[in-house]
Amino acid sequence: MELILSIAIGVLATSGIWLLLRPRSFQVIVGLCLLSYAVNLFIFSMGRLTPGRPAIMPKGGFVDPTIYADPLPQALVLTAIVISFATTALFLVVLLASRGLTGTDHVDGKERDQS
């Protein structure tokens, strides 16, 4: 399971980084989304994998923390998900405005041969 997840993180990150380095702005947006999945999963996996034991406590009584999933990375990732949605939206709008303004979807606002 650990192996599969880490390979998955690797594939997501590779695709994300590759797209990030591409010249078209839509590629960069998709790349950022993929990269954010990879990073979210990576941060989440820092709490180790614990199938089937969500961090829902009993009401009262003794709590043995070792049998539950680590809640802290989850809390970190939860806000990260919402924030990454916000940055995607922001970048999308910048992309559209830049396309309207410059007439090209190259990230630099001009084609390579024009520079």
Binding site: T14, I17, F42, R48, P51, F85
Partner: protein, 962 residues
């Protein structure tokens, strides 16, 4: 205790007034003036209340702990010297407020002007009252910034903008020097407390860093007080409205530098270095200012150089040191403020009434405005240092100090002669001011017909001139006690009391005065005919203008050199930058793990279920497909991106993170919709780019692939190494153990978000709000690309009838989903504290409920039926979250401390009722508002595009008709 509070109020009231004034409507001139005037009067009354305490030689202190570990406390301290100076600032401030009310045009944004004026007063008082030298620097910089805003108040004029920028650059540069010197002083003394610093003069002077500290300190003081060679920003600052020139650039702010010199004289002064630099620069400035002043044609320019010259005089006195010189310096600060502020106000009156400040055009004004003229003549006489006026007294003291033996160096020997020459020039320019403006033939080509100004403008001038005369005739009973107290506050209780007398008999200083007046009169008579036709500056030297040198330097430093360097070491292209970013991250990761990286011998492994393997086979395929197709097939890439997102969501669910799974799923929905909406405005890429097939492009892609593969492999190996390590005891365990007992909830993730780490969440929702508003603002001025303005091909092909029936059944179902989704949202919200759910998930669900309505029908249909005010939702969300946080203060707990309790409701049963839920409500409202705002803003673009299209069609029709 009462005194401490009063002192704090005295220091902070102007800032409060400034904030209040910013809320006034643009035309509230009268209210703004009253608010400002009353604030300053209140400050003056507080100062009067401290009089008895100050007279007994004590100082008042107020301490507010801020960062004790850094010795950074906001402390205020009032002694005789700062008392006198603060009274001066407030008095002149009140007069300027009255004056500005008539001077400024009705079209100016007066509340803003007064707000800046109040902010300046606050900053200036901050400098005077600071008991901590670091806080002093903060206020010091604040005066620079407010001065920048005030000089540039008429920002339409290029001269105002340039003057403001120059002033800011020069004074801020000096401020940097001052900060460094204060840090050095703090290092030497071991404390940033002003009293301790002032008492440690011997320690500072004997330290090996003394010279560096002194030079940096003087850099701050000299730039602020416009000392040579930094004097040129002050004439440039004359582009400010005249009340500002009168207040900041003659009476108060420029005196901050000399204030600092006098204040720190016991700590840094009394050395040969101090005498040489401070007295030397002071004398040089005194002389240069006086000489240049004579040759200026602009009335305010003349006054500005005269101000520079007088500041030089005060600086020189501070350089001499000793009780008598300090006494004279403080005396001259007050005198100069009185006569120069009144002269600036007169210059403003003349400008206001005649429409020009050019002395070559002015003349004969005594016939049309006799009262103003008499007032101005008296004030000018005080400036020239004629007997029976206040300027005479302090100038005599200065002459006496110049004659006094100091250290016998050449500078000391030259002092009396330099002083007389400067005195002569100041008499000459005073003559020129009076004679050219008020006497001679009445000019005929003035832009306006001059007459006496309104009373409110003349009154402050009259008051100040009266002060000049009264202090000049009766110095002993008016100002002498306050000056002696101030001197004692600077030097120490041992300073001998000075008695100011008008007549000392015929002695050296008197003779010097007489010579100066005679030579000055001769100078004026000799040059009166030639100056108006000459250049704006002394002969020969006007070619060598400091301002020109500065402009050249500024151009090089802020434009040419940065651009040249940028060309060499940076690029405007995004791709190389991102490449460097990725490679740097990679490099640092490898470097930090080099040699110490290992994978656990007893790995913590779970047997992978086949379904998990299958799931991620699909997920990885989706990711790679998205990467492959994102260039030419955006829609396909978007779909497979969604696929990868869903697999991520399933993984969260599988691995015990139900909250994450829910949020990820919901966010996935809105992200996909958002990108789909965006695709509408991104024209299809029709032709393949020929260059892509060429070798260089292939090489580039291959290189990037290697980088990406290295990054991806690295993160995968790192993830594997950590995941297989045994879990150590960490902070998560504490959260698990205490979530129920401390936070009153069983869903630990939610309790962390809204209780334990609520402040982080608070920050994140603020970020979300900012981003949403930015998106909204960007879209308001959005111009889509020309290719995408047309109706999309798909819509053109379907007829109008087809469009109404388009997806009819699903759209009815979607409409019916509205209440269901609201219910789901409420469900997520209320169970959030105990079970998976919470404000984030509920907020996004609610946003989806609205979104579905937009999808099912169209923007007009929805907005005719539902009024969604996303910005208000966001505002209320933020308010609720903040109010919950502040609520904890009422009970004496830190910000955002939560309180948890279960409440028994009939029928429903035990319901968790923690204040954290209120906070979560804020989160909910904000997340919902932000999401809806972004989606609706982009959805509205098609409406706007329709309108644009209609307008263009109309235009085309009109053209045809024409």
């Amino acid at each position: 205790m009462a005194e401490q509070n009063l002192l704090t109020i005295l220091a902070l009231a102007p800032f409060a007034a400034s904030l209040l004034l910013l809320t006034y409507p643009h035309n509230a001139l009268r209210a703004a003036a009253w608010t400002s005037g009353l604030t300053l009067t209140a400050g003056l009354l507080i100062l009067l209340g401290f009089r008895d305490l100050i007279q007994s030689g004590e100082s008042v202190r107020a301490n507010i702990q801020w960062i004790p570990s850094l010795q950074l406390n906001i402390s205020f301290r009032l002694d005789g010297f700062s008392w006198l100076f603060a009274a001066l600032v407030l008095c002149i401030g009140i007069l300027v407020v009255i004056y500005a009310r008539s001077y400024m045009d009705g079209q100016d944004r007066m509340p803003r002007f007064y707000a800046l004026l109040m902010a300046f007063t606050g900053a200036m008082q901050g400098i005077l009252l600071s008991g901590n030298i670091l806080i002093l620097v903060v206020f010091w910089e604040l005066t620079s910034i407010v001065s920048f805003l005030l000089i540039g108040f008429w920002h339409q004029s290029a001269a105002a903008r340039d003057g403001a920028r120059t002033a800011l650059l020069i004074t801020a540069l000096g401020g940097l020097g001052l900060l460094l010197s204060m840090l050095l002083i703090g290092y030497i003394v071991g404390s940033y407390d002003l009293e301790q610093v002032l008492a440690s003069g011997d320690v500072i002077r004997s330290h090996h860093l003394y010279e560096v500290t002194l030079v940096l300190f003087l850099l701050g003081a000299f730039t602020k007080s416009a000392q040579f060679p930094f004097h040129f920003w002050l004439p440039g600052a004359m582009a400010a409205p005249t009340p500002v020139s009168a207040y900041l650039h003659s009476a108060t702010m420029v005196k901050a530098g000399v204030f600092l010199l006098i204040r720190f004289e016991p700590a840094l002064g009394r050395t040969p270095e101090w005498f040489y630099i401070v007295a030397g620069v002071g004398m040089l400035t005194l002389l240069t200012g006086a000489v240049i002043s004579l040759f200026r044609h602009d009335l305010k320019g003349l006054l500005a150089y005269s101000t520079i010259s007088h500041l030089g005089l005060i600086t020189a006195l501070a350089g001499f040191g000793g009780p008598a010189a300090i006494f004279a310096a403080i005396f001259h600060i007050c005198n100069h403020a009185a006569f120069k502020a009144s002269l600036f106000m007169t210059a403003g009156i003349i400008d206001h009434e005649t429409g020009t400040r050019d002395m070559r055009k002015l003349g004969g004004l005594i016939r049309v405005m006799p009262v103003t003229a008499v007032l101005a003549i008296v004030a000018t006489a005080a400036m020239a240092g004629l007997p029976l006026l206040n300027g005479f007294l302090s100038k005599e003291m200065f002459f006496a100090e110049a004659v006094e033996w100091h250290d016998g160096t050449w500078l000391d020997d030259a002092l009396p002669y330099l002083a007389v020459v400067a005195g002569a020039f100041s008499v000459a320019y005073s003559w020129r001011l009076i004679v050219t403006v008020f006497f001679g033939p009445t000019p005929t080509d003035l832009p306006k017909t001059p007459h006496e100004p309104p009373n409110a403008m003349r009154l402050p001038v009259a008051f100040l001139v009266a002060v000049c005369v009264i202090v000049g005739i009766l110095p002993a009973i008016t100002i002498e006690p306050a000056l002696n107290i101030a001197t004692r506050a600077v030097i120490g209780p041992g300073a001998p009391a000075v008695h100011i007398a008008i007549w000392h008999g015929i002695n050296g200083p008197l003779l010097m005065s007489v010579i100066a007046i005679l030579v000055g009169t001769y100078l004026f008579l000799a040059t009166a005919r030639s100056i108006p036709f000459g250049p704006e500056g002394p002969p020969i030297f006007h070619h060598l203008r400091a301002a020109k040198i500065y402009d050249w330097l500024e151009l090089q430093f802020s434009w040419r050199w940065p651009r040249a360097i940028f060309k060499r070491i940076s690029t405007e292209q995004l791709q190389p930058q991102l490449r460097v970013l990725v490679l740097t991250a990679l490099l640092f990761a490898v470097a930090s793990l080099w040699g110490s990286f290992n994978i656990s011998n007893t790995p913590r492994l779970h047997q992978p279920p086949p379904a998990f393997l299958l799931m991620w086979t699909v997920g990885a395929a989706c990711a790679m497909f998205a990467a492959w197709q994102a260039k030419y097939h955006r829609f396909a890439a978007l779909v497979s991106l969604g696929g990868a997102g869903l697999i991520t969501c399933l993984t969260f669910a599988w691995l015990s993170a139900p909250d994450l799974a829910v949020t990820q799923l919901l966010v996935e929905v809105v992200t996909t919709v958002l990108l789909l909406l965006g695709l509408r405005w991104l024209p299809k890429r029709r032709e393949e780019i020929a260059e892509d097939k060429l070798l260089p492009a292939k090489i580039r892609r291959f290189r990037d692939f290697i980088i990406a593969l290295a990054g991806g492999t690295g993160i995968a190996v790192l993830a594997y190494a950590i995941m297989t390590r045994p879990l150590v005891i960490n902070i998560g365990d504490w959260f698990l153990g205490n979530a129920y007992y401390e936070g009153g909830g069983t869903n630990v993730v939610n309790v962390i978000l809204v209780d334990f780490r609520a402040f982080d969440t608070y920050g994140e929702i603020c970020v979300l709000a900012i981003v949403a508003l930015t998106v909204y603002a960007l879209l308001r001025r959005f111009r889509p690309s020309a290719e995408s303005v047309e109706t999309p091909a798909q819509q053109m092909q379907t007829s109008a009838q087809n469009a109404t029936d388009y997806l009819y059944v699903p759209s009815v179902i979607m409409l019916w989903m509205f209440p269901v989704l609201i219910l789901v949202s409420a469900y997520f919200f209320f169970r959030g504290h105990d079970l998976p759910g919470g404000g984030f998930a509920a907020g996004v669900t609610m946003a989806i409920a609205f979104l579905v309505q937009y999808l099912a029908t169209n923007v007009r249909w929805v907005e005719a039926r539902i009024t969604v005010l996303p910005i208000r939702w966001m505002g209320f969300g933020l308010l609720i979250a903040t109010a919950t946080g502040l609520g904890a203060w009422i009970f004496g707990y830190p910000f955002l401390t939560a309180y948890a309790q279960y409440v028994h409701l009939p029928v429903i049963g035990q319901v968790p009722a923690a204040t954290a839920m209120l906070f979560d409500l804020g989160v909910f409202a904000l997340v919902m508002g932000a999401t809806v705002l972004m989606l609706v803003a982009i959805a509205h673009q098609s409406l706007r595009a329709n309108r644009l299209r209609e307008i263009e069609e109309e235009k085309a029709d009109k053209k045809e008709a024409a």
